[in-house]
């Protein structure tokens, strides 16, 4: 027989947590963020030997230093929030759509197409509805293709939507060859720069105000949709258990298609806001990775649109702030990605402490 010495009791054992009080959860997350900030400032101090206080001043300066910076901050938050809201219904349904990037791009392309081909012929009363419809439609189609295959053949949606992103990128690259202005520049340039046809109007002379208001309204609508509508309820049921959904007679395929149609369409809307409401041009970088960041925003907020206001702001705050640090200390602008990355690693890591409990072994012996 084999002699195996009794092992040492492991010092730490894991177990799943039931629930954690909200305030504790918030504290854990704040701790995660602070650790991330600490590590990234250490990184900055190491590569620049700056004084940490200076770094922080420029972090805030980059976001709130001038009215223009504040508007930029709000605009970026609005766009990121818009895409995050768009992916949320799909995620609630446990449909891993990482194709928001592509859905935004085709929406942007559709908007640009309307502006280029009809900008100078249609009246604004026809042009804007046309832009809205076509951007929503384009995003919707892009979202429904993988949804169709998921619903009917259970095709892996993560990989499918990922590939769709690059198909969309190439679609834009293809279109740019027709739309490039001036010829040979390989870029579209500002569309209708003279007539400003198809540009979203500047409310109170503020360029981004309309974007921000649209997204705020969308946040409220999405909150209500998910929490109080029958559709939202069906999304939750399908996401929690497809078996239960079938049992109570929900047509699961229909819900998958409908939800991805909505998700894609809203991504298309983000494309519209980007082209018509801010850059007035289109390129393969129009979405700029926001389609991926949006997944984080939505996931960190536990798919709650109200909390997403905060998470999207937080991410943009660090991005913009870090970009400012990079400029003011003449460092490479990619510093922003590094810092955001580090902080996000810590936030992601801190989720662990919300879901699991570490049980330290005490040397307690109970006598019967």
């Amino acid at each position: 027989m084999s002699h195996v010495a009794p092992h040492m009791e492991p010092p730490v054992r894991l177990s799943k947590r039931d629930v954690m009080p909200t305030w504790k959860g918030i504290l854990v997350r704040i701790a995660g963020i602070l650790l991330g900030v600490a590590l990234s400032s250490l990184f900055i101090v190491l590569v620049t030997d700056l004084n940490p206080a200076e770094v922080f001043t420029s972090l805030f300066d980059g976001c709130f230093g001038t009215p223009r910076r504040i508007w930029n901050l709000l605009q970026n938050t609005a766009i990121l929030l818009c895409i995050s809201l768009a992916v949320t219904p799909a995620y609630k349904m446990k449909f891993w759509n990482i194709g928001a990037e592509g859905q935004v791009l085709v929406g942007a392309a559709a908007t640009a197409a309307c502006m280029i081909y009809f900008g100078n012929t249609l009246s604004p009363w026809l042009l804007f509805p046309l832009m809205i419809i076509s951007s929503l439609f384009a995003g919707m189609v892009w979202g429904m293709i993988p949804a169709f295959f998921k619903a009917y053949f259970n095709t892996n949606e993560t990989l499918f939507t990922l590939m769709m992103n690059y198909v969309a990128t190439q679609v834009i690259a293809f279109l740019i060859t027709y739309w490039e202005n001036p010829k040979g520049s390989n870029s579209v340039g500002v569309i209708n720069s003279a007539t400003k046809a198809g540009w979203l109007p500047y409310l109170f002379d503020k360029q981004y105000l309309i974007n921000i208001l649209v997204v705020l309204a969308l946040t409220v609508v999405m909150y209500i949709y998910l929490k109080y509508s029958k559709h939202g309820y069906e999304i939750s049921v399908v996401g929690e258990s497809e078996n239960t959904a079938r049992y109570i007679g929900i047509n699961v395929k229909k819900v998958i298609l409908r939800t991805m149609a909505l998700s894609g369409a809203l991504c298309g809307l983000a494309g519209l806001l980007l082209v018509s409401g801010s850059s007035h041009t289109v390129s393969v970088n129009t979405a700029g990775g926001r389609g991926f960041t949006a997944i984080l925003v939505s996931w960190l907020a536990k798919f709650n649109p109200a909390v997403m206001l905060l998470t999207s702001f937080l991410i943009v705050f660090f991005e913009r702030g870090a970009a400012q640090i990079a400029t003011s200390f003449r460092m490479n602008e990619s510093l922003a990605d590094i810092i955001t990355g580090i902080i996000l690693f810590f936030i992601i890591g801190s989720e662990f402490f919300l879901n699991y409990k570490l049980n330290f072994r005490h040397s307690k012996k109970k006598e019967g």
Binding site: K230, S236, E240, N243, T244, K366
Partner: protein, 512 residues
């Protein structure tokens, strides 16, 4: 110490808790060398949890485990293997896309080059020794349940296990397969191995084991030699007191044919026939019981009626008492069935996986059936809220409030919420599958009373159960199925457990 008299396994004062739930409390148990020991206990008595601690799946919170007289600390299945312990779980732990041989050799570290051919040779020797018949190159996903179980057992033997633990091995087997399994178990015992079989079937305990250890509510209540005991005594040990069910049973009145099932045939996703030529009629104002070994087609039958299974052939006819019309429910979706005005309720076996959504609160779960009401795009939580509160009040659901996720309720309270919702719509047909599984006595009686109320209100109730005493005491008629076929329909007032037990293990439908 004399090695030959030392027990193979000795458990002393084992306790295991899952949160507030006590799974095992102060369990003492001995497994002798070369014996077949039955661990007997009702569902939820902690049999599997206890064995999982020997197999390294769980760690005991308190207590000691001795293997061959030496204290052992088993942190993982790997540790269990070093003590020559192997467990065959109820849910097979096999890799679907691997072949039988690959599964058997998985995780073994033998010296030298990895040579599947050579290993197959030694596997074949084991198979020949104990009389297993398996195709070692067959992929698991192409195998029947019984073949998979064989692979599991060979896998454990191939690792040189001297102590085998089988968790309800016969639950998924046909009678013939069970006979084969028992033959193999005897051959292994002859070879000097200790075998622990977890079961709640008394006839098997009597047939196969040398000794029986009984667990009740997580505690050991003692062990007896099989030859010195009888099923009655074991039952008494298992349930604590003599089974005295005083379920009130009223005479069925105003019986009409409510649901007529004719020649139903259905295959599962793997293409195996799970229901063949099932024919019966469920009447209003009666409780129609369905008995059978687990996995005999009960689930598929109920799901077919509820519109969740695709049928191969057959009719499901519903006589609508309000309109007097007859509707055929065959291959209709649950939604179409509801649109026909059929008032059909269904309490499925898998409560949190099908009947309810664990992460939603009681109100939202109560709303599952009714949320579509009205033309508004928005939900109305007012009626569901009052219904949820009514269910909590009437059925004495223990919960902080109606906004608590049902996942956090205990099994009995979960079931009360589910049954409460299903009877709230005043069903004409109410199907319940294993409604008291895992429930304490009081909750069980609450459920029985609810079913009787529905019966008296004229509903036709189809009750799938596992406890024959309950079936006989509660139902009016009992249909016994075996291997997807009806083997008989008996009058519950005149039948005996023996008669039903016999029907459960034989195929065909000669006797009436």
């Amino acid at each position: 110490m004399d090695k030959s008299t030392v027990p193979a396994i000795e458990l002393r004062g084992i306790c295991k808790y899952f949160g507030k739930i006590v799974a095992n409390k102060n369990v003492n148990l001995i497994v002798e060398k070369g014996e077949i020991l039955s661990i007997l206990g009702e569902n939820g008595s902690g049999k599997t949890t206890l064995m999982n601690m020997i197999a390294g799946i769980y760690l005991p919170d308190e207590g000691q485990i001795f293997i061959n007289g030496e204290e052992a600390s088993i942190h993982s299945p790997k540790d269990a293997f070093t003590y020559k312990i192997g467990m065959i779980h109820q849910h097979f732990k096999l890799i679907d896309v691997f072949s039988a041989a690959e599964n058997i050799v998985l995780g073994i570290r033998t010296k030298g080059k990895y040579d599947l051919k050579k290993e197959k040779e030694s596997i074949r020797q084991i198979c020949d020794k104990y009389g297993f018949l398996i195709d070692l190159d067959k992929k698991i996903y192409e195998m029947s349940v019984s073949e998979k179980q064989t692979v599991e057992i060979v896998k454990v033997l191939y690792r040189g296990a001297d102590i085998l633990i089988l968790d309800e091995p016969t639950a998924v087997l046909t009678p013939q397969e069970t006979v084969k399994l028992f033959a193999v178990m005897r051959a292994m015992k002859e070879d000097g191995k200790s075998i622990v079989i977890i079961t709640h079937k008394l006839n098997e305990v009597m047939e196969i084991s040398d000794r029986v250890a009984v667990l009740r509510k997580g505690e050991s209540v003692g062990s007896v030699m099989t030859k010195d005991t009888n099923p009655e005594e074991l039952t008494a040990l298992m349930v604590g007191k003599k089974v005295e069910l005083n379920i009130e049973r009223s005479e069925p009145k105003d019986c009409e044919d409510r649901l007529i099932i004719r020649d139903l045939n259905c295959r599962n996703r793997e293409g195996a026939k799970v229901i063949s030529n099932v024919t019966f009629t469920a009447k209003s104002g009666e409780i129609f019981g369905i008995a059978g070994i687990a996995g005999s087609g009960q689930r598929e039958l109920l799901e077919s009626i509820a519109g969740l299974q695709k049928l191969e052939s057959g009719e499901i006819l519903y006589n609508d008492p309000t309109s007097g019309k007859q509707e055929n429910l065959r291959n209709k979706t649950p939604m179409q069935i509801r649109h026909l005005g059929v008032r059909l309720s269904f309490v499925p076996e898998d409560r949190l996986g099908m009947g309810l959504v664990g992460n939603m609160d009681i109100i939202d779960n109560v709303m599952l059936r009714s949320y579509r009401k009205g033309h508004s795009a928005f939900l109305r939580r007012k009626e569901p809220k009052s219904l949820a509160e009514k269910i909590i009040r009437d059925l004495e659901v223990v919960t902080p409030d109606a906004k608590t996720p049902v996942r956090r309720l205990s099994g009995g309270n979960v079931q009360k919420v589910l049954v409460g919702r299903e009877i709230a719509s005043a069903p004409k047909v109410l199907m319940v599958a294993y409604p008291v599984r895992g429930l304490d006595i009081n909750s069980s009686y609450t459920i029985y009373n609810l079913l009787n109320e529905q019966k008296d209100a004229g509903a036709s109730i189809i009750f799938v159960g596992e406890d024959l005493d309950v079936l006989i005491a509660l139902c009016d008629r009992i249909m016994v199925i075996c291997g997807g076929k009806v083997s008989g329909i008996v009058d519950a007032r005149t039948t005996t457990k023996e008669e039903i037990g016999l029907l459960m293990t034989q195929t065909g439908g000669e006797e009436q």
